[in-house]
Symmetry: C2
Subunit: 449 residues, 2 copies
Amino acid sequence: MKVAKFGGTSLANAEQIKKVCDIVLSDPDRRLIVVSAPGKRYKDDIKVTDLLISLAEKCLGGGSAEAELNAVVARYEEIAQGLNLSNEIVKIISDDLKERMGMDKSNPGKFMDTLKAAGEDNSAKLVAEYLKSKGIEAEYINPKDAGMLLSDEFGNARVLPESFDHLARLKDRSGIMIFPGFFGYSKKGDVVTFPRGGSDITGSILAAAVKADLYENFTDVDSVFAANPNIIDNPKPIPVFTYREMRELSYSGFSVLHEETLEPVYRMGIPVCIKNTNNPKAPGTLITPAREVGDNHVVGIASGTGFCTIYVSKYMMNREIGFGRRLLNILEDEGLSYEHTPSGIDNISIILEEKQLDKVNEEHLIKRIKDELNVDDVTVERGLALVMIVGEGMLRTVGICARAANALAKAGVNIEMINQGSSEVSLMFGIRAVDSEKAVKALYNEFFN
Amino acid sequence: MKVAKFGGTSLANAEQIKKVCDIVLSDPDRRLIVVSAPGKRYKDDIKVTDLLISLAEKCLGGGSAEAELNAVVARYEEIAQGLNLSNEIVKIISDDLKERMGMDKSNPGKFMDTLKAAGEDNSAKLVAEYLKSKGIEAEYINPKDAGMLLSDEFGNARVLPESFDHLARLKDRSGIMIFPGFFGYSKKGDVVTFPRGGSDITGSILAAAVKADLYENFTDVDSVFAANPNIIDNPKPIPVFTYREMRELSYSGFSVLHEETLEPVYRMGIPVCIKNTNNPKAPGTLITPAREVGDNHVVGIASGTGFCTIYVSKYMMNREIGFGRRLLNILEDEGLSYEHTPSGIDNISIILEEKQLDKVNEEHLIKRIKDELNVDDVTVERGLALVMIVGEGMLRTVGICARAANALAKAGVNIEMINQGSSEVSLMFGIRAVDSEKAVKALYNEFFN
């Protein structure tokens, strides 16, 4: 069985939904289908989820939300007509929305979640109805009946462990199942939603629960690219990479989906395929637990700006047991999370996102480090970029670092920091942000041209 | 004023002591002289300090220590005769030793320290006596009178902060002062010694206290070398390097003196010169707070084997605030100190001395990390070496990393880990221990030939 998830642009109108159904029907293994709420039809369009948020806000404010309701219903009506469905389904959707609008508003978070979830829920009903109208065995799955139980954190729910056993029973059903993404139910029976982008989470949970052979994530790009297309013209697509490579590439230009959402399939070792609804014949990008390396040592170049370092030095630091731990303690205490901590004998550099340092008073932080750790020097350097070459094949290949360092040297890029741990699939260079594009180009040319 | 410290081989016999005095007299600024106990005269000789330890152990065991006492007195007698001094000084030394032997033995650590300190103390008396016999204004300085106050940790004392003010008054004295190294007095008036090599500490404290222009450390090598002479034939001497460079080079082959001992002079920014008593015309190696870089970007190649890594991986590790701190907490809890922690997005490698992992049960440590941090994978890899290129000039020089990585690639050395922080003077490569010599040779050839 394959689990296929379709994003908002794939559900935006009747034409797109027909493409989705063609894709589903073209492979008998595609039996568990997760759908988003209808997305944008054109650049300045409003997503149904955003319409629903406005609707909920109007209701919570005590005003009339008739215009907002009409706007939502109109979207579904347009789709139903385009799919030649009877008006009955539009009435079901309209009644459902009105029922939600009439619910208890004493907990605004709960009311908001109930309204937001209507986008996906009614999308799923519509798609199931369309498939049935074509004589296909298909059904809408109610997440409550299926046992998608979530923590009762409105807008930020997590799946409860028992859900996996409940959802595993979907395997035994016949026909095509249309499952709404983005939400589930608390143990009390309330609708609760995942963080935004949560339909990806729904798909990932379902794929893990039914032990799918493949989790297909249909979006609007052909594949993941070996470098940021804003820096490199027409970068090469990545046909296949591993979970570890995907994670290392996450700094920039690779955020086709949130990696958090993939944790359930990662844990089960289920491969993920990223494909394009508008070009389903393109092979897409496959994310797998492992891959054949061959000559393909490096899969991509990631880069990100907006980093800074906190440099701390103290004579004989390396003999002071607990120094690093106490330093990290201060950061944690101040709510700062860091990326890497390259070090010398008597110094350590904490690399973190620059914007995080705006949250705390920099002078206060420096003072704490100086006073509590009795250090010789603390300085903050801003305007850094991280550039990484990523690939499973790097680990046992002599000369990868030399090629990368040469490419950077030839491009006149000074390396400020370097970081590579054992068993690693990435090599990180810390450079000045102004050199970032030059560095990505140099590394891309070295490894991909 | 210069503070000059002479090690055990410089005090081993009359001939060596004459060299010491010639050196002292050749520069009128050399006025505060720190001496060790007489060291080895030939390869299988026994140092006076070791004779004194045997003597103390015999006394503590309740047996007769006459043979041991005679052996110690004989060493001083031989020196006194060689220096044409009267037997009076030998009697003073002999009486001093007997007095120490008769002291309270209820605290063995205290008794041991009193005996061990006799080596340096009597060395200083002898040297002062010799200078006076030549008509030179010289005096033995009693550390008690001078105010060298230490913590009462026998065998492992630390200087108390007030000592610096006391010792600063030595500046006002005229003539040459001979100060015994290695020990001081507790506030209760007991003799307490520094850890071994402690005469270097005495010299460093004195230099800091009198704000010396230079702290000269006379030993038996001409200089510090740019690479380990056991790996590289006749490596180039390092004429001058900075404190930071010295610390980074400390992994191996550079341990002419313990860096802990230099902390007092480091804090005061006092330069240190390492020179050879047996070849005082050689320029030696100067350690300074800062140096002119010029074309001399790299000062040395350090290497050390006997390292291992603990590799820890966990999906989405980088989003988990406090993960690194909690990992370091476990290490600290188990009494392990580490060198570096290069990391990827979802993994971290802890580099530590392999022998440390023998102290704790490896399985126990792995289990703790797995259970308490809920990680995906923990593995220990042994047999690693660290090779570092060190130099203040590296930081702002494009291409140093490329040259180093190329040299290693050409030598067929695979780089397993790399680590360089911001503002750093070193670049560390983690490699297999079997590749260590090959790597040092390749890097030395690249940067020094």
